[in-house]
Every structure is written in structure tokens, then in C-alpha cells.
Amino acid sequence: MIGRLMLHSSTKNAAHMSSGGQARLQLRTNSPLFTPMQVLFFTCMVIFSVFVVAQTAVGNTNDEAASEKPPLVRFHAWGGSAQVNGYLQWVALQVKTRFNIELQHVKLADTSDAVSRVLAEKAAGNHDNGSVDLIWINGENFAAMKKHGLLSASWVSELNNFSLTNPEENSVMTTDFGEPTLGMEAPWGKASMVFYYRSEHMKSLGLMAPKTTEQLLRFSQKAPGRFTYPVPSDYLGISFIKYAALALNKDKHSVFYQPVSDASLKTVLPPLWKYLDALHPTMWQQGDHMLRHASQLQRLVGAGELSLAFSFTASEIPSAVTRFDLPEDVRTYAMQDGSLANVHFIGLTYNSGSKAAAKTVVNFLLSPQAQAKKQEITVWGDDTVLDMTTLTNAQQALFKKEAVHPSALDKSKPTALLAEPHASWTDALRDAWYERYGARY
């Protein structure tokens, strides 16, 4: 039918053509929108772009087969900090020039996205060419990946620089929240909890920065709405709850370092609930709405809506001041009743397609040069995991102190460190919290 129609119309067309100039003139005025050249150009563009895309897609399927291409290592790490991102850019440049490895920092808003991805790959049977090579984790994400067998085991001891952390002496390098790492992840940095406050707010409120959990409650009662903590699904939120639980149960610390049980939970919860019940109504938004992400704490302090907050990276405070994200009157300090401290790690997935290159990258991250660079306040300021006694003098010199920023933590004062409770406590405390205060997503 169509064919006949077209035939018909083309014969008609021919008839018109032969019938003379008048008709031809009329037809020709319908000149095309695009000239044939333009159409050709456009088509080429489309084909070319499809080709480019297909090329990338196909290229990805045989990562290691194409030996002339440098191996690609995809490092999935939280991308919310300009300092961390900047440091990883430096690392990418270094491994490219030193080892000809292409390091791609996949910036995550939430680390569990990457955990989910590896799990989805495992579910779909992709066991040797996953899209996640390295992943920055600790605590529960590690526990989850370990439980589901998503990480390579016993690879860390192969790294030359791992011995510099002195793992025989420092058991924290091989235990992640009380959970043995079994060589599934390499230590990368150390952190402890610090508090920071707006000194001008304190002046106008006529208050002192609180030094203990009890003082914190009194502060919040006198200046309602000036403090909050993130929900326990956030890393910093659950850390605050652990800190409060430890500080309010000074006489029962030993139970926190064993796997949690109903009995031990029952003994530590009552003082915690009593404390939080009193604290919540005095908090920001009357405790009705609590922040989802720890980083929003810093924003609210910067905006002036909060006067007191806390962080797990002491160095990010002065560095945020130099980047204007926090005002100059911010001061950092450690609580007298203890600071929660832990180590963060890098895991290698079980289905990584470029394990050898990934190990080279991690070994570089553990080198004195990379660790010293990371510890610089202007770069990131994350504490090194290397044991200074294992280093040569020249290597130790790399870590020499810089001038102290007025907003930075005064490290000359001794701080009492509280080790992280056993990993099972995290879930137990969080579930109990949600049960009591409602699920806040």
C-alpha cells in the first residue's frame, strides 16, 4: 500500500517536472531546512558519538587484556571533603608517574552505595571483573562486607609498607571496631573525636564550652537549640551515642569490649536514655528533626545556627577556617571524660579486576611520603598510621610539625582516648536508639 502510494506520488512528481517551470518553481521553494551537507555532518556527529561511547563500553570489558593500556584502579571513597578529594588527586598523579597506574577516585555520597554495588555484582555472578577495586571503609561497612564475603582476604601482609605500622605492637592496625581484619583491609589513617565551638557565641551567651557529658547537658539547657548530633545511621551520630554511653558508664567499660549481650545492653542503657531524654528537647529543632549527615553540623556552625559541634577529624576545623567555611572564632578541644578514637581502612574487593595494581596503590598510600603529605594540615591533616619508631630519621623528618592555627586542637595537652567498642555494639546501640526515638530517615 505504502509502496504503491510512493510510486504514485513519484510518477506524479515526474509529471510535474516535465510539465514545466511553473510547478518546479513552486516545489523548489520548499527548500530544506538543512542542506544535505549539514545532514551528512550531523549524521556523522551522531555516529561518531555512538562510536565513542561504544568504544568506552567495549574498552571496559577487557581491562587487563589490553596490556598496552595502564591498569585502571577505581577507588570508591566518600567525596564530600575538598581536602580528601584534593589529596586523592595528588595520589592519582603520583601513582600515574611512579607506577603508570590510572587511579580513579569514585566520589561517593554514602559509602554503603559502593557496598551495595559489590553485593549486586556478587548477586549477578560477576566474580572477577567488578566495578569497585578499592573502598575506603571501617566499622560497620567493613563488618557487612566481611560477613557477605565481599573483600579479598590476607593481602595486606604482602605490602612492604604495612610493617611500618608495627602491627605486632599496635593491635588497632588489625582490628576494626573489635573485629579482626584478617588482612582484608589496610589501615590508612587515625582519628579521634573533638568538639569545637563559636567563642563569640559563648561570650554573648555568657557560657563556657562544656568539658564533660554532664556539662554538655547543662550547656544545652541554658542555651537551647545551640547543639545537636546527627541521627545514628550517620557515622558521627552513632559515635556521639557511643561516646555518651562510655562516658555515662565509667565503671562498666569492660563490657563494651566484648560482643554485646542483652544483659550488658540492659546495664548500660538506662543512664544513656535518662541523659538523651533530657538532652533532646533542648537541642536544635527541639530534637524533632535531626541531621542526616555529619557534614551538615559544620555547615550549621558556619552559618551560626549552632554554637557547639563535634568532628572526628581535628584537622578539618582549622582547614575549614582557612577556606572560610568556618568563622575565625571557632576553637577546638577534646572532652575531659575521653575522646572516642579509631582507625580507618582501605579494603580490596573480592572481585576486583586489577588486584595487583590496587595493591601497589595501597602500598604507596602507606609509604612515609604519602602518609606525611596526608598529615599536613593544609592538605588533609589526617593522623598517620605509621609507627614513628619504625621509620628512619629522614622519614620522621617528613612529619615535622607546622605552625599551629588558633582554631586547631592543642595537641600539647594530654587527651584521654576511648577505644571503639566492639563492632556488635554499633548495631545494638543504634537499634535501641531507633526503637526508643523513632526511625528517622
Binding site: L33, A109, A123, H201, G225
Partner: protein, 581 residues
């Protein structure tokens, strides 16, 4: 030949939309029924739903989703029609359209953040409020705007965002020559019978526009009930809307929560369905009221009030847009900026430097993906629409077609995207660009289609008939008559497709596994970060990117048409010379 080709294209489009959505749905329905072998759940049962409905807050969450979704859509629609009633006969209409389009192309995440900049307790308005006061710290967050437990701030933000879209859709209907003529006739009859312009609008014009833009409005409604970004940034979390909870459960560290998430995703589909039913109920009620008012025949209907509201909405947008621009630009270049001050203490380009340094690759990715997606979506849609005219499908096939076309818009994204990722892992696991392309197409094609279909179906077919009767083939009619005449609409649709592709967060992140960084994924990651100033920079970049497409759409037709006019003249001249010899 051409007709056959267009029919093949139509099938391609259909498959492109249906396969990912259906595959995605299967990928959540199985876990919802308790089947998820990866974590050792191997048997089917309804336990997941039992757990889901046993949650304390579940009905509260469902209510919040319904309330914010239906409420914002109705509010946005009312606002849009009041605006149109005020301005439809005035030359201001174009200015209003120009004013609202920035909000249209602004990605949802960026819009929500921008509202935080101006409306939060330490925002610009709070600063203005205490102007001249002492240097006291800002009110300790007990304000109404962000995070209120009733969902009003989410509702408000959603309506602010959807109103321009509804206006744009209505205007694209009204500007079609045929409809324009018909509506003008209505209005003239109304005027000669003594109806005030406002009364004629609501009694005569609005009903015919509404039927034309009903499908886009339904898409807006579903989107509003299942949107993640806005309630995530502005909504309370005690509890949150259902969609936010779903995302939270899918991303939960405890991987067995995915079963619950899948169950909730299925529930979300039902919630969106209920929202549609509610909307139909309201629609019928309004139609009943409309008929009553037609019978009564009152010549005036609260004219002054309508105009007042119309001007009120416009001034609200003017104030909001200008303060947002001020706040965002200032933050992006501010040094320290203590609370009540209206000006920062100094200017720095540190954050622009940081952002631009990191943005080269994401920018190229965004552009490449956007251009590819939008252009191919445009071609598919054009051929599909053409096939509809060349050989209209049977009635059933046609309605099946429009339902599947709207499938991606009517099935909440949070419901099928996670399932889609699982499916994509089964086939071609490493073709990340391809998967991302598909995930984008699923969202871009329907909007491009919506935007084009209105123009296309109302195209004055007599041009085509005349051309055909002069012996042009279907291809020639399509290429030489329709394309040039609809160039404006085509480019606007293309720009819209580009903007939508740019703004995709969840599809990009999930389908590419994070390996394809785009401006939007970087921006959302920066929102989870701690720098307000860096976020401001990203908001500006995100807002400016879609404008590229629209600038092209506004600028190109003029240039092309001018050239075309010139080339015709040229040819005529040449012919004249030839004839002369």
C-alpha cells in the same frame, strides 16, 4: 519505506521505555516477595510486607508522600491557572514565561539547596529581618521553613518547582496556531456575551487547556509523590516521606534491609496510584463545579482577587529568584560572612578554583551524555510521532502505547531503578556508558515526547496535505514541511531533554556504578560535604548548564530561518538569471 522506518522507530521507542522499567520492577518485586539469593533469601513469602506494615511510622510516611505530592500538584496547578488567567491576554505573558524558565531548568536538588540559602534561619530573609540589630547569633533552629513535621516546606518547594513546568506546557498548547485561533474565538464570544476576561478564562479557556495538559500534570503528580531530593534536603526525618525511607533502606549497611526497601518500593507504586485516584476525584469535583458555574452564567468571578493572586505569584517568584541569585553568587565568592551582615567580609575565588579544577571530566561526561541522549531521544520521538500520523495505530494499541510511554513517569524512579541495576548486572555488566545512556533515555524520552506531542498532534495538517497533493513523498513532507515549521518546538524539546539528562542523579549514580561522574553527581556529593561555599558554586554551575540548551533553542531558529530565507532568495535570483538567458 519511510513509513515503515518510522514504525520500526516507534517500536524501538516502546521497547526502550518498557524493558528497563519492567525489568526494574521485576528486580524489586522478587525481593519484595522475599526472594533475594545474594543474601540467602530463597523462598517466596509475604513476610516483607508484614514487617513493613508493622512499622510504627509507615502510615505517617505514606500520608506525608500523599499530602506533599497531591497538595503540591494542586497548588502548582491552581497557581499556574491563576497566573494564566491574569496574564493570558497581556503582553506580559512572555516576560512571565521568561521569568519562570530559570526555575524550570533548575535541577530539583539545586532548587532545594537554593531555597535553604534564602529561607533557613540564617538565610538572607532572616538576615534582612534583623537588619540593624545586634550581632546576636541567628535564631536557634525552631523556625517553620526547613524540616517542619507536616511537610509544608516540602510541599511549598515542590509547587514552586512544578508551577513553571505546568505553565510551559499550557503555553505550548496555547501558542499552537489552531488552538490559539479557537481559544481567541471563545474569548471573543465570551466578551461579546459580557463575560469578564477572567471569567471567560476559567469558563472557556481553562477546560480546553486542561484536557490537553492532563498527562503532563499526572506525570508531575507521580513525580511529586516519589521525589527523593526535595524531601531529603528540606523535609523532616521524623518521619520522612516514603521515597526517602526507601532510598535509606536500599542504602542501609544491613543488606537484608533491601528486602524491606523492595517491599516499600512496591508500596510506593501503590501510593502514587492512590495519588492519581485522589487527583481524578478532585478533577471530577472541579468539573462539576465548573458546570454549575457555567449554568449560573455569572459574568464576573472574583476578578480582582484572581488578578491580585496572579500578581502576587509573579512578585513572589521575582523576590525569590533575585534573592536566590544574590545569596548563591555571594556565597560562592564569600570569605567570612557572619550572620546578620548582608555583605560578606571579602571576596575570594578559592571555591570556584577548587570546583573548576575537579570539574573538567564531569563536564565532558555530562555534555556528551546529555547531547547523545537528548538528540537520539528527539529523533526517536519525531519518527514515532510521524508514524502515528502516517499510519494511526488501532485504538487499543494506541492507548497501550501512551500508557507505556508514561510508564517511566508513572512508576516512581526509586521503585524500579534499584531493580534495574540488578538486571543490568546480569547482561553486559561492563557497558557502563550504555547502561547510563539507557537509564537517562528512560527519563528523557517521555518528557521530550510530552513536549513535542502537543506541538505535533496539533500541527495544522493542511500544510502536509497541500504538500502531499503537490506530489511530495511522506519523507519530503516530514523533512521539508514539518521540521522547519516545528523547529522552535523541536529545539525547546531538545533543550528540555538536555536539561533533564543533566539533572539525573539517581539513574546516573546507579547505572554507572559511580564511574561516570557528571556535574549533578558531583554536586550532590558536595552537598553531603561540609562546605556551603563549594555547594553554592555547584548550584550555579548546575543552574547554568541547562541554559546552554535553551540558549541554543532560542537563538538557533532565528539564524537558521534567516539563512533559509537568504538561500531561497539566492536560488530565486539564480533562477531569474537562468531564465533571463
Amino acid at each position: 519505506m519511510f513509513a515503515q522506518f518510522t514504525r520500526i522507530m516507534r517500536w524501538c521507542l516502546l521497547l526502550l521505555l518498557c524493558i528497563p522499567v519492567l525489568a526494574g520492577l521485576v528486580g524489586v518485586i522478587f525481593p519484595a516477595l522475599g526472594y533475594f539469593p545474594a543474601i540467602g533469601a530463597n523462598s517466596f513469602s509475604l513476610d516483607v510486607f508484614r514487617t513493613l506494615f508493622a512499622l510504627d511510622d509507615i502510615w505517617h510516611m505514606v500520608w506525608l508522600s500523599l499530602f506533599t505530592g497531591v497538595g503540591s500538584t494542586l497548588l502548582a496547578m491552581a497557581g499556574a491557572f491563576l497566573l494564566l488567567a491574569t496574564f493570558y491576554q497581556s503582553s506580559w505573558l512572555e516576560k512571565v514565561q521568561g521569568l519562570l524558565s530559570p526555575f524550570l531548568v533548575f535541577p530539583h536538588a539545586a532548587a532545594a539547596i537554593a531555597l535553604l540559602f534564602v529561607l533557613s534561619p540564617s538565610g538572607i530573609f532572616a538576615r534582612l529581618m534583623v537588619l540593624g540589630g545586634d550581632d546576636a547569633p541567628p535564631a536557634a533552629g525552631s523556625s517553620f521553613f526547613p524540616y517542619d513535621e507536616f511537610g509544608f516546606s516540602v510541599l511549598l518547594a515542590l509547587s514552586l518547582k512544578e508551577l513553571p513546568f505546568i505553565i510551559l506546557m499550557a503555553l505550548s498548547v496555547m501558542s499552537q496556531p489552531l488552538i490559539k485561533k479557537k481559544l481567541l474565538g471563545y474569548v471573543n464570544v465570551g466578551a461579546s456575551l459580557g463575560y469578564s476576561p477572567t471569567a471567560s478564562f476559567f469558563k472557556l479557556v481553562a477546560p480546553s487547556i486542561f484536557t490537553q495538559i492532563k498527562l503532563p500534570i499526572l506525570a508531575v503528580l507521580v513525580f511529586a509523590t516519589s521525589n527523593v531530593e526535595i524531601p531529603l534536603i528540606l523535609g523532616s526525618n521524623n518521619p520522612s516521606t516514603l521515597a526517602v525511607a526507601i532510598m535509606h533502606w536500599f542504602n542501609h549497611i544491613d543488606l537484608s534491609m533491601r528486602l524491606l526497601a523492595s517491599g516499600a518500593a512496591v508500596l510506593q507504586v501503590a501510593v502514587s496510584g492512590v495519588a492519581l485516584l485522589l487527583f481524578f476525584a478532585v478533577e471530577h469535583f472541579l468539573m462539576y463545579l465548573g458546570k454549575q458555574s457555567l449554568m449560573k452564567g455569572r459574568r464576573h468571578g472574583a476578578d480582582a482577587l484572581v488578578r491580585g493572586i496572579g500578581y502576587g505569584i509573579v512578585s513572589l517568584y521575582v523576590i525569590l529568584i533575585s534573592t536566590v541569585i544574590y545569596a548563591v553568587v555571594m556565597y560562592s565568592i564569600a570569605k567570612h560572612w557572619p550572620f546578620p551582615a548582608l555583605l560578606p567580609e571579602g571576596v575570594t575565588f578559592l571555591h570556584w578554583g577548587t570546583a573548576l579544577e575537579a570539574l573538567a571530566t564531569p563536564l565532558v561526561n555530562s555534555l556528551l551524555l546529555g547531547m547523545l541522549v537528548s538528540t537520539s531521544a528527539m529523533l526517536l520521538v519525531l519518527f514515532t510521532l510521524e508514524s502515528e500520523q502516517l499510519k494511526p495505530a488501532a485504538r487499543h494499541a494506541n492507548s497501550a502505547f501512551s500508557i507505556s510511554l508514561f510508564l517511566p513517569l508513572l512508576v516512581p524512579g526509586v521503585a524500579f531503578l534499584y531493580g534495574l541495576v540488578w538486571f543490568q548486572q546480569l547482561v553486559l555488566q561492563n557497558a557502563v556508558w550504555f547502561h547510563t545512556y539507557i537509564a537517562h533515555m528512560v527519563y528523557v524520552v517521555p518528557y521530550v515526547f510530552l513536549s513535542m506531542a502537543v506541538a505535533y498532534r496539533k500541527f495544522d495538517n493542511r500544510y502536509a496535505m497541500v504538500a502531499q497533493s503537490l506530489g511530495k513523498t511522506p519523507w519530503q513532507v516530514f523533512y521539508r514541511i514539518k521540521l522547519p515549521l516545528m523547529l522552535n518546538a523541536i529545539l525547546v524539546a531538545w533543550a528540555l531533554g538536555l536539561a533533564i539528562s543533566f539533572s539525573q542523579y539517581l539513574p546516573t549514580l546507579l547505572a554507572s556504578g559511580g564511574t561516570i561522574a557528571t556535574i549533578t553527581t558531583e554536586a550532590v556529593a558536595s552537598v553531603s560535604g561540609s562546605s556551603t561555599r563549594l555547594t553554592a558554586v555547584y548550584v550555579i554551575i548546575q543552574g547554568a548548564m541547562p541554559l546552554i540548551g535553551f540558549v541554543i533553542a532560542w537563538y538557533l531558529p532565528g539564524v537558521l530561518m534567516k539563512n533559509r530565507g537568504a538561500s531561497i532568495k539566492e536560488k530565486n535570483k539564480r533562477r531569474a538569471v537562468l531564465h533571463g538567458t
